[in-house]
């Protein structure tokens, strides 16, 4: 079923929309959540929660891209779970690896969160990503938005894993320089 048909079902409050979202997107959503959480059960819960949030938010929302919209929901859902975890247990997930990777981008003595204008920072990051070649942008987003593994990124982009690592390293370095030029010392 096409995305616009699924959105129409949601807007007409037809529960078949949920089934269609599950048929079309459950694997996609599951992998995003599992990349972050490293836990099958919690990832499944996130998929269900995402369906519920989509049902609750459309309408009034009318996303241009359902895959993008759902991915944002499940990403937030999974990150919310991470925040509410009581213990600081070491996650066996791509998210935890990504946290380590961005250590060279963000330092502990950088600007405190409450002094950062999130909107400006977001715009600055968007502006940087627009300025890099499409393939590099894709590698960056797949790693730090979808938290895909380096191997997956390599396979889907026809690159070697080491090439992906190098690309990400350079992008982090360039992003840091870009943000510093704009006054952000993260």
């Amino acid at each position: 079923m096409e995305d616009n048909e699924i959105i129409s079902l949601l807007e007409s409050r037809d529960e078949k929309a949920i089934e269609q979202i599950r048929i079309k997107y459950s694997s996609y959503l599951f992998t995003i959540a599992n990349n972050i959480l490293g836990d099958d059960r919690e990832a499944e819960e996130c998929v269900s929660e995402t369906c519920f949030r989509a049902w609750s938010s459309i309408p009034p929302e009318h996303p241009d891209s359902l895959s993008r919209y759902l991915s944002s929901i499940i990403r937030n859902c999974a990150l919310d779970i991470i925040r509410t975890r009581k213990t600081a247990k070491r996650l066996n997930s791509e998210y935890s690896l990504s946290i380590d990777e961005i250590g060279d981008l963000i330092s502990s003595d950088g600007i405190p969160e409450d002094e950062i204008d999130a909107d400006f920072l977001r715009n600055s990051i968007s502006s940087f990503l627009r300025s890099v070649p499409e393939k590099q942008r894709t590698v960056f987003i797949r790693r730090y938005f979808f938290f895909d593994s380096l191997k997956e990124i390599a396979v889907f982009n026809g690159m070697s894993v080491s090439s992906v690592k190098v690309t990400l390293f350079r992008l982090r370095k360039e992003l840091k320089e870009h943000l510093m030029k704009e006054g952000y010392y993260l």
């Binding site: 079923m1 078949k16 089934e19 269609q20 048929i23 079309k24 997107y25 459950s26 694997s27 996609y28 599951f30 992998t31 599992n34 490293g38 099958d40 990832a43 241009d64 891209s65 895959s67 993008r68 991915s71 944002s72 990403r75 937030n76 990150l79 991470i82 925040r83 998210y95 990504s98 946290i99 250590g103 981008l105 963000i106 600007i111 405190p112 950062i116 999130a118 920072l121 977001r122 715009n123 990051i125 968007s126 990503l129 627009r130 393939k135 942008r137 987003i141 797949r142 938005f145 979808f146 895909d148 593994s149 997956e152 396979v155 889907f156 982009n157 026809g158 690159m159 070697s160 993260l186």
Partner: protein, 333 residues
């Protein structure tokens, strides 16, 4: 700032940046799917569905190739282009000369000769991935979006490289069997390689009992084992959870198959020429009952009416005409 906060901010980047990548990624997830934590079984099943489709296509190409007699002329791009003498669907052989640009013209069902080796490329309309098969119609690998890959030549070389190093296929099966037996004991019935990537094997393990797992294989309950070429097991999925295990253990595949047949007859009468079960999952349905959700691809004799599609929530699968997906719930607990 905290590193975690950076990821939160990244979640709000502009939609025009995120949308094409998200859509491409979602499409990939629905096509060839690699083994990874959690969703491996579902991915294998989806891959099997694609492989069956493209294998059939590739078989056709092989048949045509045997019939073809070729003459070779180099075109202006330095590509050797062979013209077949048979009349039938177009099959063109390209001899790559190492220039990535010379490969960009590869599209649907073409034969590609690289490094002296013939491989068959297949791509579905609307899908940017190119799937590669060898002469035995064994799946070699795939390249994502060859049109936009600046290192396309390297990608091809990498994908079709001789996978002979490391353990053999038989050894991979044996390792997977022993690994699964360590978890499921005598419940392990069969192991089969379903995918061979650059450095690993994906092995589908069929189990005797219906454990509550991430998914069930097309042949029944199962798990997936990824065996690396160095002989190590990277992961094994298909968990055993406590979801009405007693009820599950009493269900036979024959029961679910006959249930599916009845439902298809009831809903579509004789309109469905054949069907394939591609997924069995344990779910707790809206009524709180434990059920097996059975995903089915139905091959309709003719394109079903819009009313039928809407009434039964049919979803198109793999971009093929008259093939629609639907699911049924077999309540067990």
């Amino acid at each position: 700032m905290k590193k975690e906060e950076f990821f939160s901010i990244l979640g709000g980047i502009d939609e025009d940046i995120l949308t094409p990548i998200a859509e491409n990624r979602a499409r990939e997830n629905r096509k060839i799917l690699t083994l990874k934590k959690g969703a491996e079984m579902k991915r294998i099943i989806a891959a099997l569905a694609v492989l069956m489709t493209v294998s059939a296509f590739a078989l056709t190409i092989v048949a045509l190739d045997y019939k073809a007699s070729s003459k070779t002329d180099a075109d202006e791009n330095g590509i050797s282009k062979s013209e077949e003498s048979y009349s039938g669907p177009e099959t063109v052989i390209y001899e790559a000369d190492g220039d990535p640009d010379s490969l960009r013209t590869l599209y649907y069902s073409k034969t590609i000769r690289i490094a002296g080796r013939d491989v068959y490329g297949y791509s579905e309309p609307g899908n940017s991935d190119l799937y590669l098969f060898d002469k035995n119609v064994s799946f070699i690998g795939w390249i994502s979006d060859p049109d936009s890959d600046p290192t396309l030549g390297e990608s091809f070389e990498k994908v079709i490289k001789d996978p002979g190093s490391g353990i053999s296929d038989d050894e991979a099966v044996k390792i997977a069997y022993e690994h699964a037996a360590g978890i499921y004991g005598s419940s392990v019935l069969d192991c089969e390689i379903v995918d061979v990537a650059g450095d690993d094997y994906s092995v589908l393990v069929t189990l005797a009992k219906m454990y509550e797992a991430a998914d069930f294989s097309v042949r029944g309950p199962g798990c997936a084992v990824r065996v690396m070429r160095d002989g190590t097991v990277d992961l094994c999925t298909g968990g055993m959870y406590d979801v009405d295990a007693d009820a599950l253990s009493k269900v036979t595949l024959a029961e679910t198959d006959s249930f599916v047949r009845e439902k298809i007859d009831e809903q579509f009468g004789g309109a469905v020429e054949r069907y394939e079960v591609f997924e069995r999952r344990v779910v707790v349905n809206d009524a709180g009952r434990t059920a097996i959700r059975i995903g089915v691809s139905c091959f309709f004799k003719e394109t079903p009416s819009k009313e039928t599609i809407e009434k039964y929530g049919l979803g198109g699968t793999w971009g093929l005409d008259n093939r629609y997906g639907c699911s049924f719930e077999y309540v067990i607990g």
